[in-house]
Amino acid sequence: MIHRQSHIGIITLTFIAAFALSLIPLPHWAGSFRPAFVLMVLVYWCIALPNSVNISVGWIVGFITDIMVGTLLGQHALAFAIVAFLAVKLHQQIRVYPLWQQALSVFTLVALAQLLVVWVLGIIGQSPNSWLYWMPSFTSALIWPWTYMLMRDLQRKFGVT
């Protein structure tokens, strides 16, 4: 039981770190290149622990994002839940991919989440007016190998299984 609680602690901590990273101010030009840290952490846990991190965790994390960013409640929640669903569904394949191929999957997942968000933004008439909107998909895929290794080391160190 104690063992399980420490898992929840580690998973929560990584999510908090990801939220903090997505809030840290960057120079103005770099703002649109910020990787989707929260989404990457979510995808990692979905692949690594599909039994404990699943769609509902994705939904909750997305909901927190909605509150933080000030978008419509449910907008990121929906996108993140769908990404979590796909990641859990495909976790056995993604796990055995080489890192660069994993990065491609992450690109697809992040792009899908962004697409869902931009649809909603379009419906309420606030669509972003720049192609730079899609940059997080690319930058997330670029730094995925390092994120993956860091998260794996964390997971092993704290014995989260």
Binding site: A20, G70, A77, I124
Partner: protein, 265 residues
């Protein structure tokens, strides 16, 4: 199931304002995180202030003193002008213009979304901030409040693509609407006829027509005026005077009308 819930939530949030309470309650839990991310930056400036040598402090102090004297000298002129204005208005039996109440607030060093220009400030419901309240900095109009929690408020900058601001040219009195472009350095001025008398460097101030911003605060300087006979309106661009990306202190303004509204019911 979750998908239906999300869609339901989105619709409810968009159409009605039932969920404002939920949002502001839940965002209290995010306050520690926001505070923690901002901490290194405010600590950095605090350390910088405390470590600066005595000479720099003295130098700064002298500089501020001269500046203060200069501003006070200007203020004297302004006070007499204001009194004169009041007398003239009384003669004309026009309504009196009363100075607005202000409150200083500090920005959190946080980035939310590079495409909507919003910032978070450290004053909220507890300080009687209201929705749609104008925010200015030392140089010009900054933005308006869009979401309020007990301790923080998010402010939409005037350069947000979804922001529009009724303005007036200080020199000619021509009215227009300044809309955000999504880039911090420029505003678009809409519905200006091709034959308008506009020069580069013209000052644009708030016209007070929208009912949100009080009249007469400086907004921007004209940087480009392009006449195109094939288009119904001229293309006019302006540069905001407020230091949207550098200010750390801003002022919340209570306009006279908003105070009256509070008293009336």
């Amino acid at each position: 199931m979750l998908a239906t819930l999300s869609v339901g939530l989105m619709v409810a949030d968009h159409k009605q304002h039932y969920l404002d309470v939920v949002r502001s309650t839940l965002s209290i839990f995010l306050y520690p995180l926001e505070y923690a991310v901002d901490l290194p930056f405010s600590a950095g400036s605090w350390v910088g202030e405390n470590m600066s040598s005595r000479e720099t402090l003295l130098e700064n102090n002298a500089l501020l003193k001269t500046k203060n004297e200069f501003l006070q000298a200007q203020m004297q002129k302004y006070v007499s002008l204001e009194l004169e204005n009041l007398r003239l208005r009384e003669l004309l039996e026009a309504s009196k213009r009363v100075p607005d109440r202000v409150l200083a607030a500090e920005l959190f060093a946080l980035d939310f979304d590079p495409f909507s220009h919003k910032v978070l400030i450290n004053k909220g419901q507890r300080h009687e901030v209201y929705l749609g309240q104008p925010v200015i900095d030392a140089y010009g109009v900054f933005g308006q409040t869009v979401a309020i929690t007990p301790l923080t408020t998010s402010v939409m900058l005037i350069t947000d693509p979804n922001h529009a601001l009724p303005v007036q040219f200080n020199r000619t009195g021509l009215r227009s609407i300044a809309t955000g472009t999504g880039s911090l350095g420029s505003l678009d001025l809409q519905y200006i006829p091709n034959n308008a008398d506009i020069r580069e460097g013209d000052l644009v101030v708030t016209s007070g027509l929208g009912g949100i911003y009080p009249k007469g605060y400086p907004v921007a300087k004209i940087t480009r005026f392009e006449q195109d006979p094939t288009q119904p309106y001229a293309r006019v661009q302006a540069e905001p005077l407020a230091q949207l990306d550098r200010s750390r202190e801003v002022l919340l303004v209570w306009t006279q009308s908003s105070i009256d509204e509070d008293v009336a019911p």
